[in-house]
């Protein structure tokens, strides 16, 4: 066989291999991150500089805070990032009224502030701190995974009334009627499409939380996001892995699917 024909063969085979590797559905082999118990879901330990300064990491529970404030308040107004330990929270900044210490939050008037004896209420290094309070939430609508609570329904039914803003009013509601429902075709063959309703997201978030960083507002530009990317904490995975309802609940987005599908 001549070198020419052999190299053509190699090129064709490797191209085919590449195609197979990129197109092969990996869906059946998803491994969703293991779910913690409901009282631990959405809890984090903030340890950017704590231990370096001989202080115990600060514990933070999303389910405690989201009863009183929407995501927007902290992640938009107070400029908390979406990734733990990336926000430059310092004691000085908090005391100056930024981040946790914002007026209306842990300012020492509304709730406990940043002086003794309150330090250990956060700096205790215990990720399940305050779990006894979780039983108080038993009356809220149930959901299958995560905290086991359907937070959206709870807000709709006025069972919780989280504040939507501290200082910066969201878009005036009378002028804001935007509620686009998107149909997202699945990349994998045989998987029913996902439905994305803007409305429940608008109730909790600000436009800027998702646009234009996480999802560009360009039409069809976000069609490239796949479950694989989402599982890498991108796109929907920014929230729907660790804080908002987890992806084990397949049919909450893909209405025609059954749950647990990805796991087995």
């Amino acid at each position: 066989m001549s070198y020419k024909s052999r190299s053509i063969k190699i090129v064709t085979i490797s191209t085919l291999l590449l195609l197979i590797f990129t197109l092969e559905p990996k869906g059946q082999f998803f491994t969703l991150p293991p779910l913690p118990p409901d009282y631990k879901f959405g809890n984090i330990l903030i340890n950017r500089t704590s231990e370096k300064n001989n202080v115990k990491p600060a514990t933070f529970s999303h389910w405690i805070h989201r009863q009183k404030h929407t995501c927007r308040v902290c992640h938009f107004e107070l400029e908390f990032n979406f990734q733990v330990n990336t926000t430059e929270i310092t004691e000085a900044a908090n005391k100056a009224g930024m981040y946790c210490g914002a007026s209306g939050c842990h300012d020492g008037k509304t709730v406990f502030g940043h002086d003794r004896p309150h330090c250990e209420k956060c700096h205790n290094g215990n990720i399940t701190y305050g779990k006894e309070k979780f039983s108080e939430l038993s009356g809220l609508p149930k959901a299958k995974f995560g905290n086991g609570i359907d937070w959206v329904k709870a807000m709709d039914k006025d069972m919780i009334k989280p504040a939507h803003y501290l200082m910066i009013m969201p878009l005036p509601l009378e002028g804001f009627t935007f509620n686009k429902i998107l149909l997202l075709e699945a990349e994998m063959f045989g998987i029913p499409p996902a439905i994305f309703p803007h409305n429940p997201h608008i109730q909790w978030l600000d436009c800027n939380n998702c646009h234009p960083d996480v999802f560009t507002v360009k039409k069809k530009e976000t069609q490239h996001f796949s479950m694989e990317k989402i599982l890498q904490k991108k796109f929907c995975g920014v929230c729907h892995l660790n804080v908002a309802f987890p992806m084990d609940h397949c049919n909450r987005c893909h209405p025609l699917m059954s749950d647990y599908w990805g796991k087995y």
Binding site: I10, V11, E88, P172, G175, P212, V214, V217, V238
Partner: protein
Amino acid sequence: MKRLLHIMFLILFFIGLTFTGLTLAQIGGGVKKKRPLPHEYGRVIIDNYKELWYPVHLKEPSAPVVFDHWLHRARFTCRLCHIDIAFAMEASATGIRASDNKKGYYCGTCHNGKMVYNDREVFASCSKNFQEEDVKRCVRCHSLGKNVKREYDFYTFTEKLPRGRFGNGIDWEKAEAEGLIKPIDFLEGVSIRSFQLEAPKDFDLEAKVEGIPNIIFSHKKHTVWNGCEVCHPEIFIGVKKGITKFTCVNNFEGKYCGACHRTVAFPMLDCQRCHIKAVQ
């Protein structure tokens, strides 16, 4: 010979494959970008010609210039630098050279060691007779990657200014209205005496997405620090009222409003700051 060629071709092919693999992996962002801290907002890195010119005494190319808008905008109007001194609206697009500064243009218009501001001499930019002790002055601007203590600390400087949303965290408009800052708009020998600009009326910009409130655009607010030429026609190129359509996407890419309201003027984070008019 033929065999060699084939091998070469194969190698190139595989290199090509790895690159396409890489680009495939990079499609889409999907993650939240970190917001700049208040003192970092409006920072511009100017990095031209570093290979071409550097002072012999530094023994290494001078570092790129770190320019923070906040100090300059507290003292001068946008117009002064972006029209009268002819700085481009995009970082590094002016192509400033040390020799330009020496001759008294661009940075050297003010940073000439002679101009007096607040009873203090404005330090000279790139000097022609470079001495060893001048290095300290060089790194005041050529400071990227160098741990240089700035003469003005952002937080002490802005302590008394009214708070604003995002960006620098300062309401610059209010700061001027209250007389806390008095930006200079005229430089003798550089600026042109002109008639007071009469701002055209405010108007509505219709939102392109259904259910989103319209924008009220105020010419008046924009002409406080700008002349017409800053925006027309360079930035709003070909924009004629009611004809050209541009959307948020263009703005987020740094065009139109995004030319200023993405990196220097208040950022486009809180939609309602502009989208204020209820849909009829």
